[in-house]
């Protein structure tokens, strides 16, 4: 608990988390307004899944926030002060990942329900509502995906140690690399089925129960529950690897 308090103080006494949080909310809700506002009611776009389409960008900003929480510590060598105060590096980094993940969870839930509300306000008559378990998962799941993506970003931040490098790696991977791998002839589509962010989409939209059209749905073959477990495992393995390296490395 002590270490969580420490990381909370550190996170909220700098500016970037506030900025990133605000940007995430504006981006996701703004995107929901665009998507819902521009879709004619009779087309398939005005659905719960439609309101949540901006989460891809939200994830990107959250990963920037999470990566910066570590890389700025390396940039300004406060990581040394941290390890001096808490020589158990594993617990210090787990605490950091936990605090950042909790923040990401909260922002994710606010942005998801905010986006839903934006959709309902713009098209009150379109019947956007949380009617099924699939709808609920699609909305509440966003925060969970944010939290796990934040853990991955913390891990990458520890591994790479440089802000620019870590952010470039994370954004290029999440926004481009997975889709490019998909384009590799014959095997690309099979590999893509198991790539983490694609699998995370599967957890959110499942088989389209929340109104995601066929082209919005993930190609991953896992069920929704397993998809979440797979994504979580990916994040935790990455974090474990990062901690293992941080313990052996000179601070």
């Amino acid at each position: 608990m002590t270490l969580l308090a420490v990381e909370r103080i550190k996170l909220f006494t700098t500016r970037s988390p506030w900025w990133c949080s605000a940007i995430t909310l504006v981006l996701t809700m703004g995107f929901a307004a665009l998507v819902i506002g521009n879709s004619p009611s009779e087309s398939g776009g005005v659905t719960v899944a439609g309101t949540q389409m901006g989460h891809t960008f939200g994830i990107a900003v959250i990963m920037v926030l999470a990566a910066l929480s570590v890389t700025t510590e390396y940039r300004f060598s406060t990581i040394r002060t941290t390890f001096q105060a808490v020589p158990g590096r594993g617990s210090a980094l787990v605490a950091k990942a936990t605090v950042v993940a909790l923040l990401a969870l909260v922002i994710g839930e606010i942005s998801a329900f905010g986006s839903l509300a934006v959709g309902m306000l713009i098209k009150p008559g379109a019947g956007i509502a949380l009617n099924s378990a699939a709808d609920w998962i699609n909305v509440t799941g966003v925060g969970v995906v944010y939290a796990l993506a934040a853990v991955m970003a913390v891990a990458v931040g520890v591994l790479v140690r440089h802000s620019a490098g870590a952010i470039a790696l994370l954004l290029i991977y999440a926004l481009a690399v997975e889709n490019l791998i998909r384009l590799i002839p014959s095997i690309g589509a099979h590999i893509y089925q198991w790539l983490p962010f694609n699998v995370a989409e599967k957890f959110l939209t499942g088989d389209g129960g929340s109104g995601a059209g066929p082209d919005m749905r993930s190609t991953a073959t896992l069920g929704q529950g397993w998809a979440l477990a797979y994504f979580a495992a990916f994040a935790l393995v990455l974090l474990a690897a990062a901690i293992g390296l941080a313990k052996r490395r000179d601070a």
Partner: protein, 311 residues
């Protein structure tokens, strides 16, 4: 209190610290001396468990740093004053450190008061001058009211007022009975603050002794003599076995103390205008002892050190 045993650190092919063993006694100021690049900072980082030694170990009060439960309460350190997030306030920086070691948060304002930063406690640390950053670093070191304090080049880059402040502060800490281990490449500074010296060059231990012994052992102690009957005196001193060198307006006598020179002069009826013993400066002692242990030679022969008596 701090005990290093066969401490070795290798970075790739460079041996930064080479089989270094020394000990720092409780309740004293021990200087850690060496030219730039001698491995002082690396050694300090290893003491704090930040860098892992390639071999050997260092213990604080018998424990390795990572075994300390709340390390800031045992050993406070200022290795680099710029290890602060520039957008975090001084108070917030100290607050998270205090919380991490379960130090009461009221202590934050106490240490800010001790170093005189109370009025800027809420300001971004990134806007601090070097002197203020240094004070913040010292406040952080004192946070856990530790018995042992570690400072790496604390006066580097400070203005005279800042240097004086740090120097007084070291004495105050020593008077409080704390163990202080402070590194520097400024020897004259060490002569004023440290009672013991650990001297290293190229990562190796050169000597560990009291500051006084270090100087007497290393420096040539000479006596300057001026006299209107200089030729007569030369003959007398040379007969008595002293080594003489001419120096502007007089001679420099080595191998004989001032008492003896005065007695010889009186016995031979020689008038003396000056008879002044000189102690070699720490710089001289240092150059003499570290000799070729300087990592990066400039190619220029070192200028002869200016003789300056130790205050």
């Amino acid at each position: 209190m701090i005990e290093a045993n066969g401490l070795t650190k290798r970075y790739g092919r460079t041996l930064a610290v080479d089989d270094l063993s020394f000990s720092v006694e409780s309740g004293q100021v021990t200087g850690f001396l060496g030219p730039n690049g001698a491995g002082k900072s690396t050694t300090m980082r290893m003491i704090l468990g930040l860098d892992n030694p390639t071999s050997g170990q260092v213990r604080i009060g018998g424990k390795s740093y990572r075994e300390l439960k709340y390390p800031l309460r045992t050993i406070g350190a200022l290795l680099d004053a710029k290890w602060v997030h520039p957008n975090r306030s001084a108070r917030a920086h100290l607050k998270w450190m205090a919380v991490s070691n379960r130090i009461p948060v009221t202590r934050v304002d106490e240490v800010l008061d001790i170093v005189g930063l109370t009025s800027v406690a809420g300001k971004r640390a990134g806007g601090f001058s070097l002197g203020m950053s240094q004070r913040l670093g010292i406040a952080a070191a004192l946070l856990g009211d530790p018995e042992v304090l570690l400072f790496d080049e604390p006066v580097n880059g400070l203005d005279p007022e800042g240097i004086l402040w740090i120097r007084k502060f070291m004495h105050r800490l020593a008077d409080e009975g704390r163990t202080v281990f402070v590194s520097s490449h400024l020897l004259s500074e060490m002569a004023l603050t440290a009672s013991n010296l650990v001297v290293i060059g190229r990562g190796r231990l050169i000597s560990q002794s009291s500051t006084k012994d270090f100087v007497t052992r290393a420096a040539d102690n000479t006596v300057k003599v001026r006299s209107p009957q200089i030729d007569r005196l030369r003959a007398v001193l040379a007969d008595a076995g002293a080594e003489l060198t001419a120096e502007d307006g007089g001679i420099l006598v080595a191998g004989m103390d001032s008492d003896k020179i005065g007695e010889l002069a009186a016995a031979n009826g020689v008038v003396l205008h000056e008879l002044s013993p000189r102690t070699g400066s720490l710089e001289q002692a240092f150059m003499q002892i570290t000799g070729d242990a300087v990592e990066y030679h400039t190619g220029l022969a070192a200028e002869p050190a200016v003789l300056e008596p130790i205050r």
